[in-house]
Amino acid sequence: MMPRKNLLVSAVRKEQIIKSLAQGKRVDGRGLLDYRPLNITPNIIEKAEGSAFVKLGDTHVITGVKIGVGTPFPDTPNEGILIVNAEILPTASEYQEPGPPDEDSIELARVVDRGIRESKMIDFSKLVIEPGKHVYTVYVDISVIGMDGNLFDAASYAAVVALMTTKFYPLINQNGTLVKGSEKIPLPIQDLGVSTTFAKVDNYIIVDPTWEEESIMEARLTIVYDKNGNICAVQKGGNGGLLVDDVLKIVDLAKSKSEEMRKVLEGVISNA
């Protein structure tokens, strides 16, 4: 039996979704520019330095952060290292098969990585123990345990909340040996990149697409804004194209939506 990779929405359901969009609402009752209920639980994994569990509708993502020690890359001897891994577990949906990460998981990890890196969220220059020799390595492991579309935003929110709530024991260089510090410190955070994802379904622009909507969309655009309102990462997906007007419209919508989501994320972090 061929493994089923993608959801194929029936012609009747597709028509139903498009008719509903024409009336200004989605099949699940949301408006075109409404997110599904977002629920974030920080510090869900005791043994990780930072963690978060995000429920965005039926999309569930759990992320853990571990801090290790490594050798810096030769071109950046004075900077720490960020490594983002993503995995869509077979339990996430009946369509997901066990095995090594597929292209969707790799894309997910890259988009989340880009959002964190390009928004300059972490000051990597402060993650150096001994220049050129020892730096902190920040591992962000994303596990998708429930799959119902818009994995980018859910994974991104889980990653940023986990990083913002990370606390770890610093290592101090004492006569050439690294000694564990006595008190935990947070990561040097300087910004917060907020991701928003839009999809184009039959000429309608919608935010936070479900898996069904993603499977019938023409194209998808994920935009990450930093706190100053600058675009710091963009990812386009889907087989179809986007018109210039569509992109400009999405850029405007993404800015206001990212501000909205930023307040939600900051609220979660301040209460953690």
């Binding site: 039996m1 959801l7 194929l8 029936s10 009747v12 359901r13 028509e15 009946e94």
Partner: protein, 223 residues
């Protein structure tokens, strides 16, 4: 005696003539699923309330065509396994695939009504198309397959009552797929009734709950 159980819960002790969805260890019977346990009359069973659709021979399902090959069509039957319909079954006789084109009968994305005919190796589900196998409609809804299976296999009056109260043309699949044909108002009414099934964690009193949604005169209310 009825009670809600989770996997591993002790459902009952003693000897029973028949049991389902439980396993026995010593004198105790443990639940295998999240569900409602029913004990009485020498019988013991757990009615599943969550989980995917598990195909059983004789089930009437509605699936989406996901692949069409010369000899068979593959269907997504809202389960962890695919369903297959052989080309012969569509043409109602043995066919030569070089002369008969199955893709002229079914296309990707079509909804097909069929009955589970046989299950091989526990994962290859072969289906027999229904007399009216082509399912047409204006809306498709999904309800919990575990609940749907119970509702359609327990001779419940719920499906016929929903049809009666809404006046819509509805086709129910045991796998939780519901296809509705009718105007927008009727579709909304069906959705309200299905929401009651979906939101009620237990199945007790479901019939009355659905009637309550439509009020005494059969018109939908917001209660």
């Amino acid at each position: 005696m009825n009670k809600l159980v989770i996997p591993g819960d002790v459902v009952a002790k003693g000897n029973f003539r028949s049991w389902s969805n439980v396993f026995k260890k010593g004198e105790e019977y443990f639940s295998m699923f999240v569900g409602r346990a029913e004990v009485g009359g020498g019988r013991l069973r757990v009615i599943r309330l969550t989980g995917p659709y598990i195909p059983k021979i004789g089930d009437f399902v509605i699936g989406v065509v996901t692949d069409v090959q010369p000899l068979a069509a593959t269907l997504d039957i809202n389960s962890y396994v695919n369903g297959f319909i052989m080309a012969n079954a569509f043409f109602k006789r043995r066919i030569d695939p070089s002369r008969y084109d199955l893709s002229k009968k079914v296309n990707l994305g079509d909804l097909v009504a069929a009955k589970v005919q046989r299950i091989e190796r526990g994962k290859d589900v072969f289906l027999q198309p229904d007399q009216k196998w082509k399912v047409e409609g204006d809306a498709v809804f999904y309800i919990s397959p575990a609940k749907a299976h119970y509702i359609y296999t327990s001779r419940s009056r719920i499906p016929s009552k929903i049809k009666e109260l809404t006046g819509a043309e509805i086709r129910f699949g045991v796998n939780g797929v519901v296809v509705v044909k009718g105007d927008l108002k009727k579709i909304e009414m069906v959705k309200k009734a299905l929401d009651v099934i979906e939101l009620k964690y237990d199945l007790n009193g479901l019939y009355n709950e659905i009637i309550k949604v439509f009020g005494k005169d059969g018109k939908s209310t917001d209660s």
